[in-house]
Structure formats: structure tokens, C-alpha cells
Subunit: 304 residues, 2 copies
């Protein structure tokens, strides 16, 4: 009576933003019976138009195999799992929650324990890769949880991800690695913006910067990924400025709890706050370069 | 009467530290008549034992084709070129100075102009790659200068370098790109140390960090190059902590002159100053992680 991992599962995705919607579509494409939920009803209807179940999630809950939470933060994760109308109390025993938001490791451990009280499995599964890879089903997942949680989450992971890092047998390790990665990713974006605009004050054009630096010791993944956005003056949001006050804020909260001083992260956070505060929050995160350019009185590519 | 670029040239290397000595050896191996100069006579004698000319540099100066300066900074570069016993006034017209120290672009332009007054060519040629690549003849050179300066410097570049970025037709552009690269390289080392030790407070071991992060958006060249030093507790200096107060200091000097605020670089500089000030200056620059570990009360690999 074992269920093949390839047989269709019943899966709900809560949070249909740019990440969650892409994941839900890929779960749907993989042949699973899929429910979507979002505070924005239009997103739910759009997913239904692509084939998602039209029945109420509340009614379907006891039949679900997996619930994927792709909401903004810890508060929203807790609300959708355990708040008023939270889904965990309605789930069957052995169903799994796949929690994808960037949260503190301690919070992930709390959620795992509270799910366990309800007989529900929990996979600490923050995701990385941005909306483009969410859409293509090629996310990276920094996951930790019990072997049962991994097994139950397998249809979700298979449908949405290219790489699953299995980081430990209980919640917390996944979120810890995600926080480490976000610390670096955010800091490297700000460093890229700082270096590129600094170079402009010395006659190094963004184009020349992108020709030389990726071949040198100053290279980073973020330079190669975000640098072209500045060269092309293309701030179409693939990942927004506003991700970083949130994610670097989480990193700084964790760091403060651990009495860990993180001066570079703190400086990067300030630059993203300045970007967000000056109205750039919904632009691509490479727009943090505009803060530097404004402060230095220089014009970026595309500036009048 | 053109001289083939492959015919032996007469070349002096001033400054026989870990970078300069490796370059001088490779110039020697390429078959050029080579002079070495250093305040440490033992370094000069060691080079002579490997085949460098034993005649006095002062006497040889009028016959030299190229002088390579591989000293610590702008002050030493100016001293060896134009100070008491400076070499430029003794050089023949058409000889070239290949200036490898990390300096401000304005300083490089000044040196080019003063060399020109003496009929001497100048290549702004800061180097990158560390002592290992200096020894193997595989440096990267961020070079700018006239076509004549590049042509005259060719035997030096060919003998010492794997990659020569030709960044412009006058001095300054090379040093500008070097400063940009050093901003990023130093900041990325400090960010790596910050992220790795932050991770340790959350249960992410340095080994696990190195397995996961190089495959993620937080990746950098410095993580892949310096991270293993921390995992292996190997602080044998390939590039020392003390490089960074110097090079990030130069970046911050240039930035201040340009009224450019560089908050991440400033934060990284403070961490390297703390490393140097607490006695780690001669260790490998990955030892900046020890500052974070000490401040957070955590033990790095190899700590008792």
C-alpha cells in the first residue's frame, strides 16, 4: 500500500506571489492536484484558470498531502499555519508543511514542534533562485527536517527545484544556511553597487567593470547576475530592493540574539533601507546603485 | 634596427618581496639580463645566486630597457623613481618604468608625467594574483599607458603574467581598476569571514558552509579561495592581513578625494585594522575571521 512518489499528490500552495505562483504552476504541471491561496483573490483565480482545484481549501485540507507556505516572513507563516483559520489543525496526520519563507532558525524549530503536536510533518525549506527560477522549476532549497518530512515533501521538491541541499534531520539548519546565504547575497549586491559607482568616479565605466572584474579576485555571483542590470539600465524587478530590508533585517535579528556583530551586513542593510526609503523598493535590487550614484553626484547608464 | 620582442632585454626589478622576487625570477628565466634591488641585501644576493647580474644597478641604469617597481605603495614608488638615488634620471630615453604597486590613479598620472619629462615611458601596471601566481608567472596586470609604453614593457609582461588587461592609453586607468578590484576583494574576504562565523553561531559548520555556499547566490571568488584556509585552520600567509589596511586605505583615500561614501569598504577596513592591531597582521588574510570569532566567543577550526 505504499504510494509511489510519482503518483499525483494533493498539494496546497499558500502565498501566490512571484515565487509561490511559479512553484504552484510547476506543481500543477507535474500532475498534482493543486490548491492555491492568497490574500489577492485574482492570483487564486489565475491559478484556477491554469487548472488548479476550484474547491475551497478549507474543505480540501483534511485530504492534503502537503502544504507549501511561500509567504513573506515568520509572522505570515505562523498566521497561515496556526492563526485564525490556520491550516495545520485541519490537516491529516502525516501531511507535511513545506515552509519556504526566510525565517530565523529558532522560529523554524518552533513551527516544527507545533506541527509535531498536531501529528503533522514539517520541512524547513527556504528557497533561493528568484522568480525566474521559481517559474522554471529550478529553485535551490536549503532544507532540513526528518526523513519522513523529506519523503512527504518529495513531490513538492521534485516539481519545483533543481537542487535540494539536505542540511540536517531537524528544522533550523535550513533556515540557518539561508540566513548565511542572504547575508552574503545582500552584502555582495551592495558591494557590487559600491565598487561599480566608485569606479565611475575614477573613469571606470560599468561596461569596462563588467569586462574585467568577473575575471579577477573581486568576482562574485552577484556581480555577474546583477551587474548587467546596471549596465543595461534595466531595473525590471527580478528580485526587489524590498527583499533586503526584510532578509538582512532577519539576519541582523538573528545576529543580535546571538550577540554577533555583523558590521558589513549592517552597512549593506543601511544602503537598502536608503534605496527603499527613497522610493526604489519595488525596483530590481541592483537599484541600490542609485543610492550611491545620487550621493556621489554621478549618472548611471540610462540617467538623463 | 627594430629589436625583436623575443631578444633578451635588460631589466631591473626594484622591490624583491614575495611579489617582486617571483617576478624577477621569471624575468630571469625568460632569458633577460636582470638586476634586482631591495633594502634587504640578502634578497638581492639570493637573486644573484639564481643568475641575476652582479654589477651595480646604478652603473647599469643607462643601459636598461625596463625598470619594474614592485614596492609597497606610492611613497616608495616615488622614492625609488625620483628620490635620492632615484633611477629615472639615470635611464636612457625610451626606457620604460613598469609600476606595479597599488596606488591612486592621480599618483600614477603624476608619475607618468614626471617620467615623460625625462623621456622615459611609464606603464601603470598594478598586479593581482598573489605570491603564488607571481612565482608561477601567471599574474594579472591591470595596465594602462601609451602604445610605446606597452611595447617597451612587453618582455616584462610576457615573462610575469597570464592576463594583461589593456585599460587605456594613459596612466590612471590601470590603478583605478585595481582600486575597484581591491575594494571588492577586501570587502568579500571580510564578508566571507562575517558569514562563516555568523553561520557557526547558528550551527552551520565551516565545512558545510563551503559545501553549500559556493553553489548559491552568495558565492564569491574569495569564498572559494580563502574559505578553505579557515576550514583547514591554515593561516600560512599567501596574502597577509596587512595588505588590507594598506589597500583599503588607498581605496578610502581615493573615495574621500572624490567625495564618495563607501560604507561597506569602511566596515571591512575596520575589521582588517582590528585583525592587524590584535597581532594578526602577518597571517593569511583569512585570519580576519579570528576577529569575528573572538568577538562572538566562538571557536574556529583549530582553536583549542
Amino acid at each position: 500500500m505504499t504510494t509511489s512518489m510519482r503518483s499525483p499528490a494533493k498539494i496546497a500552495v499558500i502565498g501566490l506571489g512571484s515565487m509561490g505562483y511559479g512553484m504552484a504552476r510547476n506543481i500543477l504541471k507535474a500532475g498534482h492536484e493543486t490548491w492555491g491561496a492568497d490574500i489577492n483573490a485574482a492570483r487564486v483565480e489565475a491559478l484556477q484558470a491554469e487548472g488548479a482545484a476550484a474547491t475551497a481549501l478549507a474543505e480540501a485540507a483534511p485530504t492534503l498531502d502537503a502544504v507549501v507556505t511561500v509567504v513573506l516572513n515568520a509572522a505570515q507563516t505562523e498566521a497561515v499555519l496556526f492563526g485564525e483559520d490556520g491550516i495545520v489543525p485541519r490537516l491529516r496526520k502525516g501531511a507535511v508543511v513545506v515552509a519556504c519563507a526566510t525565517v530565523a532558525p529558532d522560529f523554524a524549530r518552533q513551527m516544527e514542534a507545533r506541527c509535531a503536536e498536531a501529528g503533522v510533518l514539517f520541512l524547513d525549506a527556504p528557497i533561493s533562485g528568484g522568480a525566474v527560477r521559481a517559474a522554471s522549476g529550478e529553485l535551490s532549497v536549503m532544507a532540513s527536517g526528518s526523513a519522513d518530512a523529506f519523503a512527504a515533501a518529495r513531490p513538492v521538491l521534485d516539481a519545483t527545484s533543481a537542487t535540494v541541499f539536505e542540511l540536517g534531520d531537524s528544522a533550523g539548519a535550513g533556515s540557518a544556511m539561508k540566513a548565511v546565504n542572504q547575508l552574503l547575497a545582500g552584502t555582495h549586491i551592495a558591494a557590487m553597487a559600491e565598487a561599480m559607482t566608485f569606479g565611475m568616479t575614477q573613469g571606470v565605466s560599468p561596461e569596462l567593470f563588467m569586462k574585467v572584474i568577473p575575471q579577477c579576485a573581486g568576482a562574485s555571483w552577484m556581480i555577474e547576475n546583477r551587474g548587467p542590470h546596471i549596465v543595461d539600465a534595466d531595473y525590471t524587478p527580478r528580485s526587489t530592493v524590498d527583499i533586503w530590508p526584510k532578509d538582512l533585517g532577519i539576519v541582523m535579528d538573528i545576529a543580535r540574539s546571538a550577540k554577533f556583530g555583523a558590521p558589513l551586513t549592517a552597512a549593506a542593510l543601511q544602503q537598502f533601507l536608503a534605496a527603499s526609503g527613497s522610493g526604489l523598493g519595488a525596483e530590481d535590487d541592483a537599484a541600490v546603485a542609485k543610492v550611491y550614484a545620487r550621493n556621489a553626484g554621478i549618472k548611471l547608464p540610462g540617467d538623463a
